[in-house]
């Protein structure tokens, strides 16, 4: 009880220092004054009275000190004292401090930056209320070999009427929209949504209102909601925008709301939301092309929701008719089943793998940096051995000396952590710009409070790591040795050398792991660039999209005429060698697959032989450089005369007729209600799903195709490809815009890229991982080699005397060179051996990112080991040569 009271008193008095000092001062003055008075009364002369009084009182400063100790915590005072001492020590050796801080700041900064990416993408909850209740609506159809089947309108109606698992749910699909009448015609990203989507996400418009069931009913007045960004851009943030009407795809729509700034869904360039207005009366089975989000009722698990959807799928099959040309049995045989999953998992996908690999890689760099710094600290304390021994002899406790070492580590780590945070902020900004486009939640990455906390934790971890090694080494052993050994007359003992050598070995091992990983990524990248994507010299192909409006008259031929006119205008531009038009270009993500039946093959009644569908105009293949293997290309005459023709890819031709040459003249169709169409040509395969994926078997139809039983397919949202050396230049783009607008001034251009943009995007993950791992590997190599060099150089400087004796006894310079270089080589080889084993165990985490190379690729492992050993040998030879040049006379006279 009294102890506690004293503690509290001390705690408070810690803050009232000055006042207490004054009080003590006053009491001492009083005391001495009383004493002097008494002494004078006893007959002493004034001066003597004062002297005697002071003598009797005792040493004022010692008493003050004692008083202070009792008043506060001597522990805290000592702590501050140690901190000041450590700070002074560091200030005395600025080069050492700078080297350590720079090394650590780079390590901590890189780790913090990577953490902010991992945190923003993987760890932070999604920015919706109760995000754990949100699931992505997916189906699966093993009978059709479809892993993820999108939800359909038929499913929507059944779920809306009968589901028991969801509080609410909504479907949506990305639709790009033309906005005209607000300055230049513009092509923007939009979403078609059912009215349940926003409430499901828990999002309310910042201005105006959300969609109601009435807005979403077919035939209702056309409405739309703007995103915050688009509203700021187009209406300068004017609240009066709500209620106005704008022209979207040629139709007037009323703005009924503006979403809040923090709303995030899909890409950051989303501009507007439009009610999809699904019509139950016209809904058939099929059209599995939507996306869905649902909010689970409290307590409902994903498995229970799956069960609920499974219950309703047969209801769906019974309630809706199959689309023309397809049998109901086709859908039964597809064995459609629910495949719900948490929304976060759906958004993040398999990206976790990449990020954790990179986080691990950067973590290794931090460890290497710490090892380097620990080594520097050990060497520094080695130099202070004499001082430490003297201090210990004078009565400094081990704890006190250890505390000082920890302080030194802490100050270094704290300053580095602060600097690292600044570096991390810079790095994150760079990271966000170089990160792959498909990186989800990119805009949620940033240095925030969580990253600062993480950095703090890392800095503390670093403190302990770099502070502990010298402490373990120098406070455990007897200090007496320090005094005896501090002369340089003895060579350093093996034991003293072991810690530093161990650290250097670990560094080499870790660097090897990172270098092997980057080596594997380099091999992957090389394999990918060697792949023939199915088109040639994509950087010389300018692509852009243009949307030919079908309003007011819906006339396929008119669309084609406009498109042909645009192509002719563009072909006439200077420097253009050819121009083509298609529904999509390779790797742009358009992956429409549907049935292709061949006349000379037999099919089960419900079979759906799925192949990639493409729609192209004449000249497309020539423009992008896809070779024509057999037959001929489409002609404009084929298109205007509605000839039933098709072109197939080499792979499809081989699958169906074994040889591309056999395919020409064969007949195919899209469904049982379709006319037979003649295969007039075979073209080379294109890697449509990405460089690292096999080329899908594809069929190419003319840009207008009158499939039997459905509305004609018209490519009115078309991608134009232009082969020209001027691709990508601003002046050329201006000419293209003028050419397009000379045909129709209301046509907006969108997605203006050269074709290699899509190729790069498909390799973005690999190149991102490669760049990051190569950076980490480079840092690791540099730090590791510096560490190794430091250890050997230091050891040489400690063994000058020994080398002198060896030389005096007849050792040749080459013997000494071998001795020292051998020491370095031993360290390196041990490190390489450990590193190889570690890399072998760890690289399998990379395997999902690799292409054309095994995770345990022997070439990479051997090459990296050789390179690392060679570099390490060179680093070891520099100090070894210095040792070999030691003059025995000088070395022995020293000291």
């Amino acid at each position: 009880m009294t102890k506690l009271r004293r503690f509290l008193k001390r705690l408070t008095s810690w803050t009232t220092t000055r006042q207490d000092e004054q009080r003590l001062q006053a009491e001492i003055a009083e005391h001495v004054a009383f004493q002097i008075e008494d002494n004078v009364r006893a007959g002493m002369p004034a001066r003597e009275a004062r002297r005697q009084a002071m003598l009797k009182f005792g040493a004022v400063e010692a008493i003050k000190e004692d008083y202070r100790d009792r008043r506060t915590f001597p522990f805290a005072d000592a702590l501050l004292h140690d901190a000041r001492y450590a700070l002074r020590g560091l200030r005395r050796s600025p080069a050492f401090a700078a080297a350590v801080i720079l090394t650590l700041a780079l390590g901590i900064g890189a780790t913090a930056a990577m953490f902010s990416a991992v945190d923003g993408v993987l760890l932070k909850p999604l920015p919706y209320s109760h995000p754990e209740q949100l699931v992505a609506l997916w189906l699966t159809a093993p009978g059709m070999n479809i892993q993820d089947l999108n939800p359909s309108p038929s499913l929507y109606f059944v779920l809306r009427d009968q589901n028991r698992a969801f509080q609410d749910f909504g479907l949506y699909t990305g639709v790009s929209r033309n906005v005209t009448g607000l300055g230049e015609p513009e092509h923007v990203a939009g979403l078609d949504v059912t009215y349940g989507l926003l409430p499901t996400l828990g999002v309310r418009p910042m201005l105006g209102r959300s969609f109601t069931e009435a807005d979403d009913a077919p035939g209702s007045p056309e409405t739309l909601i703007l995103t915050y960004g688009y509203w700021r851009r187009k209406f300068a943030g004017d609240p009066a925008a709500v209620g106005k009407t704008i022209t979207v795809d040629g139709k007037l729509r009323q703005i009924i709301g503006v979403l809040p700034q923090r709303f995030r869904f899909g890409g950051s360039d989303l501009a507007l939301l439009v009610p999809v207005q699904l019509d139950r009366a016209k809904t058939l089975l099929g059209n599995f092309s939507f996306y869905g989000v649902a909010r689970l009722k409290p307590g409902v698990t994903v498995a229970r929701a799956d069960a609920d959807v499974a219950r309703l799928l047969p209801v769906m099959l019974k309630s809706f008719a199959p689309p023309p040309g397809l049998a109901a049995k086709t859908f039964e045989d597809a064995r459609i089943a629910p495949n719900l999953r948490p929304l976060k998992q759906d958004i993040v996908g398999d990206l976790g793998n990449v990020l954790w690999v990179l986080m691990g890689g950067i973590g290794l760099v931090l460890l290497i940096a710490c090892a380097n710094v620990a080594n520097l600290l050990i060497v520094r304390i080695e130099g202070r051995r004499h001082e430490l021994a003297v201090r210990a002899a004078l009565g400094a406790g081990r704890a006190r000396i250890a505390a000082q070492m920890l302080w030194e580590g802490f100050i270094l780590a704290a300053v580095s952590g602060g600097l690292g945070l600044v570096l991390a902020d810079l790095a994150v900004r760079t990271l966000v710009t170089i990160a792959p486009n498909d990186l989800p939640r990119l805009d949620e990455i940033g240095v925030d409070g969580r990253v600062v906390l993480f950095t703090l934790a890392v800095s503390l971890f670093v403190t302990v790591l770099i502070g502990l090694i010298p402490i373990l080494k120098y406070t455990g052993a007897s200090f007496g040795i320090g005094l005896r050994e501090s002369g340089r007359t003895t060579s350093e003992s093996r034991q003293r050398h072991r810690a530093r050598s161990g650290l250097a070995t670990v560094q080499v091992a870790l660097a090897l792991v990172l270098l092997v990983s980057s080596g594997l990524m380099i091999r992957t990248f090389r394999s990918l660039t060697r792949v023939d994507p199915g088109f040639a010299a994509p950087s010389g192909i300018q692509t852009f999209r243009v949307d030919i409006l079908e309003t007011p008259v819906k006339d396929p031929v008119a669309v084609v005429r406009t498109e042909q006119a645009i192509l002719e205008k563009i072909s006439a531009l200077p420097g253009v060698s050819s121009a083509g038009l298609s529904m999509s270009v390779p790797m742009d993500g358009n992956q429409w697959s549907d049935s292709v039946f061949a006349r000379d093959r037999a099919y089960a009644p419900s079979e759906m032989p799925l192949h990639r569908y493409k729609f192209v105009a004449p000249g497309f293949f020539k423009t992008i450089g896809t070779p024509l293997i057999a037959g001929r290309d489409f002609t404009w005459t084929d298109i205007y005369n509605k000839l039933p023709v098709a072109i197939v890819s080499e792979r499809l031709a081989r699958e169906y007729w074994h040889d591309p040459g056999n395919a020409v003249g064969k007949q195919v169709r899209s469904s049982g209600k379709d006319d037979w169409r003649e295969v007039i040509g075979v073209v080379g395969d294109t890697r449509d799903d990405g460089v690292d994926k096999p080329a899908p078997s594809s069929v190419y139809w003319p840009i207008v195709t009158y499939f039997g039983g459905i509305d004609p397919i018209v490519v009115n949202f078309a991608t134009v490809s232009v082969r020209t050396p001027r691709a990508g230049s601003e002046s050329f783009l201006d000419e293209i815009r003028r050419a397009v607008w000379s045909v129709d001034s209301n046509l907006p251009l969108a997605d203006v890229h050269t074709l290699d943009y899509y190729e790069r995007a498909s390799m973005a993950r690999v190149s991102f991982t490669l760049v990051m791992l190569a950076l980490a590997g480079g840092m690791a190599l540099l730090l590791g080699i510096i560490g190794l060099y430091g250890v050997i150089a230091y050891s040489v400087s400690q063994r000058v005397h020994e080398m002198g004796i060896r030389a005096a006894l007849g050792a040749q310079p080459s013997d000494i060179l071998k001795l020292i270089a051998g020491q370095g080589l031993r360290l390196t080889l041990t490190g390489v051996a450990i590193g190889l084993a570690t890399a072998f165990a760890l690289t399998r985490f990379l395997s999902s990112l690799l292409y054309g190379v095994e995770a345990a690729d022997p070439l990479t492992f051997v090459a990296v080991s050789l390179i690392l050993t060679f570099v390490a040998l060179v680093a070891g030879c520099v100090p070894a040569r210095r040792a070999a040049k030691v003059d025995p006379i000088v070395a022995l006279r020293y000291e």
């Binding site: 009083e30 004054a33 003598l55 008493i63």
Partner: protein, 118 residues
């Protein structure tokens, strides 16, 4: 270093007890008076280093055994007056009891003569 510290602790422990007893017997007084009183009775102990009294006073005050406030001395000087608290009185009695016991035990030991143990 350790030895010195022990001695100091014993000295301060003794001093603390003396301060408490002095304040119990003579009532509130200022530091110099307490020092003089202890000097008069113990002689030796505070002949030099009277200043060591002040850290002890502080410790006792922190423990709540004594309290202090500024006042005016008999010679019209400003001085800090210390007085015993209820808690201090309790502590004094507890420690006196302990001291008596210890002293009695020690006394018995010294009283024993060699032949008594045979």
């Amino acid at each position: 270093m350790g030895e010195r510290k022990d001695k100091k602790d014993v000295l301060q422990g003794t001093l603390a007890l003396m301060v408490l007893k002095t304040l119990e017997v003579l009532g509130p007084m200022h530091g110099y008076r307490i020092a003089r009183r202890i000097e008069q009775i113990s002689g030796e102990l505070l002949a030099v280093n009277q200043g060591t009294l002040y850290p002890v006073l502080l410790k006792l005050e922190q423990e709540g055994s004594i309290a202090s406030e500024w006042g005016v001395s008999e010679h019209n000087r400003r001085a800090r007056f210390y007085r015993l608290t209820r808690q201090g009185r309790k502590q004094l009695h507890a420690e006196k009891h302990e001291w008596d016991e210890t002293a009695a035990i020690i006394a018995r030991f010294f009283a024993v003569k060699a032949e008594d143990l045979k």
